[in-house]
């Protein structure tokens, strides 16, 4: 069965781009554009990987992670956010996010290997 990646990102261009890049891995990609949609999607099907933005309308990334912990979903989370403050990063670590990438940090070359790790 194809691996399933859920992309939760309110920036449509970025979300589509992620989906396009990931399409080469022969996987299934779903995109949600806010936290509420994400939680709904998670309720229907738990993906093999969630790429999660923090600043999203309706419900933010923290809310999504809270939902995952409350429902004890077995879902690895990689946070991709513009936020680089320690408080947010710590909060995500606490919520057991596997990885945290600051979109504007220049560790691009670490990003894809990190994602690939969950797709094998």
């Amino acid at each position: 069965m194809k691996k399933h990646v859920l992309i939760a990102e309110d920036d449509t261009a970025l979300a589509d781009l992620m989906a396009n890049v990931l399409s080469k891995y022969n996987i299934r990609v779903t995109i949600t554009y806010n936290g509420k949609e994400t939680v709904e999607a998670l309720g229907e099907e738990v993906p093999d990987l969630l790429l999660l933005d923090i600043l999203m309308p309706v419900l933010d990334g923290h809310g999504v992670m809270k939902f995952i912990r409350e429902k004890s979903l077995e879902c690895p989370v990689i946070v991709l956010s513009n936020l680089s403050d320690k408080e947010t990063m710590d909060k995500c670590k606490e919520m057991k996010a596997q990885n945290y990438f600051v979109k504007n940090d220049l560790d691009d070359d670490d990003l894809w290997p990190a994602i690939e790790g969950y797709l094998r």
Partner: protein, 443 residues
């Protein structure tokens, strides 16, 4: 008869004898009297002499008295003269002082910024025209009132700030702040305030407050922060997309030519992202809006990351890079800021070192601080320009501009960030020998 004669002559002789004796007595008495008279005469003469002396003395005294009187008259005249001169002078000086005071007052009154002086108890002594114009109060009527009652200070949310927050306290010194003042009509406006104590000698007699309406500045600030936010989102997000596509593409099987192109494109987009990040960081720094966030940082890991970012450029420029760092050395500092400092220093070292040169980054743990040296064998900074290093937009004159594009904000930023993390930075540089920057910060 004879006898009788005899007796008669005897009687006469006796009488003569008696007479002689009486005469002798009288003579003697006369002699005595004459002596006494002589004595008296001498005494009189002496007295007369004394009197003469006294008289002469009196004459002298009288003369002296006359002299003194004359002198007194002259002095009195002189005094009258000097009094007149003095009065004239005092009048002149008073007029001068009045002029100076009027001038001072005019200057005070004309200061474009609001001004109010208060006594030790915060009661208004003096206000200027700008005060009246900015706040809508007539100053004359406000004299003697508590300043805190005349102009309540409020915060951005309209909450009144208590007097204790604004008064110059027991150890008064000048201080500045930005806050909001309430006008007579109840509206408020943002102000930049400087409060300073007034001393006469060593005695504190009150405070003087100068304030400026900063409504315009606030508007500009807001526009700037809006612009920055736009820059942040509208520029960075698409750039992130580009970077991610390129970094993903780099991992594909491409032709050698394609790989080269993609790598260059990725590197360029990274540089651009880096420039935007610096712009934003400087904007933050200048707004004083930056607080360091302390966390445990494993130095070696971060340094390797930083050096890796510069690998492509370094290889292309034919430079050697050595990194020395004690393994597992942990420091408690702001990671992002430290990375920013070192990234800038390394970037400069690589930029301004000619092909074949060497760059070394080394970390030493000292007693209570961490020392990081970034040394290069580059062009160096001309002696006479070295003190200008921390200036914004400064670029050394010995670097041909086509060699490397630079903006001159890197080191300006470094110097500001170093202060934020409580560190110090210094450098030694010799033209055509190289430069070593030394960063010291608390561990």
């Amino acid at each position: 008869m004879r006898k009788t004669i005899h007796s008669a002559s005897d009687g006469i002789a006796l009488k003569l004898k008696i007479l002689a004796k009486e005469k002798e007595d009288v003579r003697r008495k006369l002699v005595v009297t004459a002596k006494k008279l002589r004595l008296k005469a001498r005494q009189l003469a002496a007295t007369a002499r004394e009197k003469e002396v006294v008289r002469r003395k009196l004459v002298v005294t009288a003369r002296e008295k006359e002299n003194v009187r004359r002198k007194l008259v002259i002095t009195a005249d002189e005094l009258r003269m000097s009094r007149k001169t003095l009065e004239k002078k005092v009048l002149e000086r008073t007029k001068d002082l009045e002029k100076v005071r009027a001038k001072d007052e005019a200057i005070l009154a004309s200061i474009g910024e609001g001004l109010v002086a208060t006594d030790k108890n915060g009661r208004i002594l003096l206000v200027n025209k700008a005060f009246e114009r900015l706040l809508g109060w007539k100053g004359e009527k406000r004299k003697g009132k508590l300043l805190s009652e005349v102009i309540p200070i409020i915060d951005a949310n309209g909450k009144t700030i208590p007097e204790s927050e604004r008064a110059v306290t027991k150890t008064p010194k000048e201080r500045s702040m930005t806050t909001y003042y309430k006008r007579k009509n109840g509206t408020s406006f943002p102000v930049a305030v400087t409060v300073a104590p007034i001393y006469i000698g060593k005695e504190l007699i009150g405070t003087v407050t100068v304030f400026r309406d900063i409504t315009k500045e606030k508007e500009i600030e807001k526009a700037r922060s809006e612009f920055m936010s736009i820059a942040s989102h509208q520029l960075r997000t698409p750039l992130t997309a580009i970077r991610w596509v390129l970094s993903s593409l780099k991992r594909e099987k491409l032709t050698e030519e394609q790989t080269k192109l993609v790598k260059t494109a990725h590197e360029t987009s990274m540089n651009m992202a880096s420039t935007i990040r610096r712009m934003l960081m400087i904007s933050h720094l200048e707004e004083d809006g930056m607080e360091p966030e302390l966390e445990q940082v494993i130095l070696q890991k971060e340094l390797e990351k930083i050096t890796r970012l510069h690998d492509a450029h370094r290889q292309r420029s034919g430079l050697e890079l050595a990194l020395q760092c004690p393994q597992d050395l942990m420091v408690r500092t702001d990671k992002q800021l430290l990375i920013e400092i070192l990234d800038n220093l390394l970037s400069n070292a690589l930029k301004y070192t000619p092909r074949g040169g060497k760059v070394r980054m080394s970390v030493t743990k000292e007693k209570e601080s961490i020392r990081i040296d970034v040394a290069d064998t580059g062009y160096g900074i001309p002696q006479e320009e070295q003190k200008r290093i921390p200036e914004k937009f400064f670029r050394a004159s010995n670097v041909d501009s086509p060699v490397e594009a630079g903006t001159g904000i890197g080191l300006y930023m470094v110097y500001n960030i170093v202060r934020l993390i409580g560190g110090t930075i210094s450098f030694v540089s010799q033209e055509n020998k190289g430069t070593t920057f030394t960063l010291l910060f608390p561990s």
